[in-house]
């Protein structure tokens, strides 16, 4: 079952109960935490958004409806809400810009520290690996926007700093791809050591980027 189809099913059910203001954060919660999980774990999704009274009240019914929709014909589903979700995320950006800037600066510190220790050919291999994996896993699933990936490719090539605004989840996902790239190129022992050193150098502000 495709991720887009699952997203449509979640949207179809949740949009019947939640107003837009609450709907999009819930849809992003699903996208970030549950899109790649099995349908059997959807119960945890409803637990995670049970702070909305309507979800708490109709939890069992919502769960049943969603499971039924996931197993049913796709014709009953509403269209994919992905474009609307992206518009909502972009609209949020000005409010979070200042925080994102600080986070991006920390991320740049980690990135610079990681790539400073690499030989040039290894840096190229890691960059290629990250780009390839991001493409293979589909950008929506890893939550890394195409703009951020292009920016990363440019920075890695020219030794510059990232400028594209991105939230914590995107930066964390990108850092994870870089870490796996390092594992594949240098082995997990060296990758662990390099990441630990980079995070130590970047200071305590780097913590949210390495904790789930």
């Amino acid at each position: 079952m495709s991720e887009a189809r699952n997203r449509r099913a979640v949207y179809t059910v949740m949009s019947e109960y939640l107003p837009e203001l609450q709907l999009w954060p819930v849809m992003w919660l699903w996208q970030r935490e549950f899109a790649d999980r099995s349908p059997f774990e959807l119960n945890a999704f409803f637990t995670a958004c049970s702070h909305f009274p309507v979800v708490k009240q109709h939890r069992a019914s919502l769960y049943r409806q969603l499971i039924a929709l996931l197993m049913d014909d796709a014709a009953k589903l509403k269209p994919d809400p992905w474009p609307a979700m992206q518009r909502y995320q972009q609209a949020l950006q000005p409010a979070t810009e200042a925080r994102d800037d600080a986070e991006l600066a920390v991320f740049n510190e980690i990135l610079a520290s990681l790539f400073y220790d690499l030989r040039s050919d290894t840096a190229v291999t890691v960059t290629h690996y990250v780009m390839e994996q991001a493409g293979r896993r589909r950008l929506s699933r890893t939550l890394i926007s195409p703009a951020l990936m292009e920016d990363f490719a440019r920075c890695a090539k020219n030794g510059e700093r990232l400028t594209t605004a991105a939230d914590t989840h995107q930066l964390r996902a990108l850092l994870n791809l870089i870490y796996i790239g390092l594992c594949e190129c240098l082995g997990p022992v060296v990758a662990d050591r390099m990441l630990n050193q980079a995070v130590e150098r970047a200071g305590p502000q780097a913590r949210p980027l390495v904790t789930g």
């Binding site: 790649d36 999980r37 099995s38 059997f40 774990e41 964390r172 996902a173 994870n176 791809l177 870490y179 796996i180 390092l182 594992c183 594949e184 190129c185 240098l186 082995g187 997990p188 022992v189 990758a191 662990d192 990441l195 630990n196 995070v199 130590e200 305590p204 780097a206 913590r207 949210p208 390495v210 904790t211 789930g212």
Partner: protein
């Protein structure tokens, strides 16, 4: 003085003093029970050995997760084996393929309870073999589900073919004359073939093998002292594992435990010799695994072999453990602790050796064929079924932890705690 006289008077006329002395059969039963309960405690202690060994061979960021899996193996194993496993394995076995009575044992004789206790420890050992092989990249819940499947179905059904029929009937392999005294195949190989299926479905840890050149990258464990201590504890526990399998406090325990000791020592020597002959460094992990392979190897035949052949069996088993680990690496299978060579390959060798080296009946071709049939049946039963089980779990719940979890370590992502907070400041202190 007066109080002492009254005390002696009380003792002399107490009901205990005047009770009829126990009969010989009651004494024998009591002695057997004491021995088996003590052996059960020793086998239970092996879980601590497994936990230390597996945790020490894993990276520090996964130490708690490995310990947790071992801990829960005993807990889940005890409950499920009492509920279902014991009945399937030892219940009335008229077909030769499965037991059908004594589930959730409650109204039974004292001896039945003692046997259940001892066999529960064996069952827990079988499932714990998987946890080490699959360490550092398996989701906790998914692992526990798989462990439950093994304890409820895969392990007891095969066990019923060899050891079944305690309450009527007998297993088909037992009828053929298959020798597996304490479970080289029933316990160890079955656990190992399940582990093999598990690591095949999981795939290797990130970066374990270079995808282009196929080069193997070592991922050293975080604490080799724990590995050595785990090895010693397992060795000690094995005296109960093999010695207790007599199910009676008989005079043959001495020879069985001596054979166990010699095989373990020879296993370590076998690992050393093989490493030297192949010009490889003599690693602590390989040496400990060598002695464990010796223990696994002698488990099947410790009651039927002469000491010199027990030592030979251990020596070969130790070499097999080291060679098998390299073979798995060549096939790009990532077994974190070397469980498959130690419990699977050495278990198969030990089972074969048990048929070849029967004291007074060496190299009996019929016996060897029966042993080969048992070894084959174990693989053909456990491997495909566990492959199916792990595959089904992978497709539904998801068996493998995400790369982000692998990066952060399963201690933090699965349990929200870490084994060594001082080493992981950035990953555990929340804003």
């Amino acid at each position: 003085m007066k109080s002492t006289v009254w005390l002696l008077f009380g003792i002399a006329f107490s009901p205990m003093t005047w009770a009829a002395p126990p009969s010989v059969s009651e004494w024998v039963l009591s002695m057997n029970t004491v021995w088996l309960v003590m052996a059960s405690a020793l086998v239970f202690f092996m879980q601590a050995g497994f936990a230390l060994l597996e945790s020490g061979m894993s990276r520090s960021k996964n130490a708690v997760n490995v310990m947790m899996k071992n801990y829960m193996d005993v807990c889940l194993g005890s409950l499920l084996f009492w509920l279902v496993g014991y009945g399937l394995m030892f219940g009335e076995n008229l077909t030769g393929f499965m037991g059908t009575s004594h589930f959730a044992l409650s109204d039974a004789s004292d001896w039945d309870f003692t046997l259940l206790l001892f066999q529960t420890m064996f069952a827990a050992t079988a499932i714990t073999i998987c946890s080490g092989a699959m360490a550092e990249r398996t989701r906790y819940d998914a692992y526990l589900l798989a462990a439950a499947g093994i304890i409820v179905l895969i392990y007891p059904l095969f066990g019923s073919w060899v050891w079944g029929g305690l309450y009527g009937g007998s297993g088909w392999l037992a009828d053929l004359g298959f020798i597996d005294f304490a479970g080289s195949t029933v316990v160890h190989s079955i656990g190992a073939w399940c582990a093999l299926a598990g690591i095949m479905v999981l795939g290797p840890r990130s970066g374990r093998f270079d995808k282009r050149s196929g080069e193997v990258r070592a991922i050293p464990g975080h604490n080799l002292s724990l590995v050595a201590l785990g090895g010693f504890i397992l060795w000690l526990g094995w005296f109960g594992f093999n010695g207790g399998s007599t199910l009676a406090a008989g005079s043959d325990i001495g020879k069985i435990v001596l054979n166990t000791q010699l095989a373990a020592a020879a296993g370590a020597c076998g690992a050393l010799l093989f490493s030297r002959l192949t010009r490889q460094p003599v690693l602590l992990t390989a040496t400990v695994n060598g002695s464990l392979a010796g223990l696994v190897g002698i488990t099947a035949g410790c009651a039927v072999m002469a000491p010199e052949l027990a030592a030979f069996t251990g020596l070969i088993a130790g070499a097999i453990a080291v060679a098998g680990a390299r073979l798995l690496e060549r096939w790009q299978l990532d077994d974190v602790v070397g469980a498959i060579p130690v419990h699977g390959f050495a278990g198969a060798w030990g089972t074969l050796a048990a048929g070849m080296f029967v004291h007074g009946d060496l190299f009996n071709p019929t016996q060897i064929m029966v042993q080969l049939a048992g070894i084959g049946a174990a693989f053909l039963w456990a491997f495909p079924l566990s492959l199916l089980l792990f595959f089904a779990i992978d497709r539904t719940l998801g068996l493998r932890a995400s790369t982000q979890h692998e990066q952060q370590g399963l201690d933090f992502t699965e349990h929200d705690e870490v084994g060594y907070p001082e080493f992981h400041r950035h990953s555990i202190i929340r804003e």
